[in-house]
């Protein structure tokens, strides 16, 4: 499942909804991305996440489907927020559930790495010296590339 929303999310409630009554699940991996109050050596007051409605949903659904092709997953969820967010606010949630932890952990890492380079979101940071668009990190592209040649399990 994927959701693109302005609203916050509650990880406990999302896990409960995703896994209720599904007793073949042995492991749930998750990742939550938060707004940091620093970026490099600059203090960040807040940020605004812009996205491309329509393409965002399509890309997240494709990424999720790819994870299900690579690993045997019982359930998964991606929530990505947009709009103005402050330090400590949640940006993204990735949840994966599987019989065993290997598939849950690996697919969770895959989804967040892939989403960072494929999902059409852009961050505008508010800093003491004005607003600035966040530049893409080479490390994110490297992390995503790692999965291109790797097999799932």
């Amino acid at each position: 499942m994927i959701r693109v929303q302005r609203e916050d999310f509650d990880i406990g409630a999302e896990i409960a909804a995703l896994t209720a009554g599904r007793h073949a699940i042995g492991g749930i991996a998750s990742f939550i991305g938060l707004v940091r109050d620093v970026a490099g050596d600059t203090t960040v007051g807040a940020m605004t996440l812009e996205h491309y409605p329509g393409m965002t949903e399509t890309k997240l659904a494709e990424i999720e489907a790819e994870a299900h092709r690579r690993w045997r997953l019982d359930a998964s969820l991606i929530i990505h927020r947009y709009g103005r967010l402050e330090p400590g606010d949640r940006i993204v949630l990735v949840l994966t559930a599987a019989a065993h932890r290997e598939a849950a952990l690996a697919s969770c890492g895959f989804l967040i790495d892939w989403l960072k380079t494929q999902a059409p979101f852009w961050k505008l940071e508010e800093t003491g010296s004005g607003d600035r668009w966040v530049a893409a990190r080479d490390a994110d592209e490297d992390a995503a590339r790692r999965w291109r040649d790797e097999q799932g399990q």
Partner: protein, 83 residues
């Protein structure tokens, strides 16, 4: 054809979305980008370094040799920074 601009491409060009009729000689994404560069200072500035411009046609990533058709939705944006 519908053109969409996001993030600093949008702020430099000054518009988020426009409807245009392509000249007949603009047949692919690369030709579109060169044609847009000539449409004014904002476009020239936004599109001066194409290595940081990503293009989606009908909401899917494409390369610069991708052929364009009337009615396509073409989006230009910088490398993504979500997550």
């Amino acid at each position: 054809m519908k053109l969409l601009y996001f993030a600093w491409l949008r702020t430099k060009i000054g518009i988020a979305e426009e409807q245009i009729d392509l000249p007949p000689e603009v047949r692919d994404v690369g030709a579109l980008l060169r044609w847009l560069q000539g449409r004014g200072a904002g476009f020239a500035e936004a599109l001066k370094d194409l290595s940081v411009v990503r293009v989606a046609v009908n909401q899917d990533y494409v390369k610069f040799d991708h052929k364009l058709r009337p009615g396509d939705e073409v989006a230009l944006f910088p490398p993504v920074t979500g997550g």
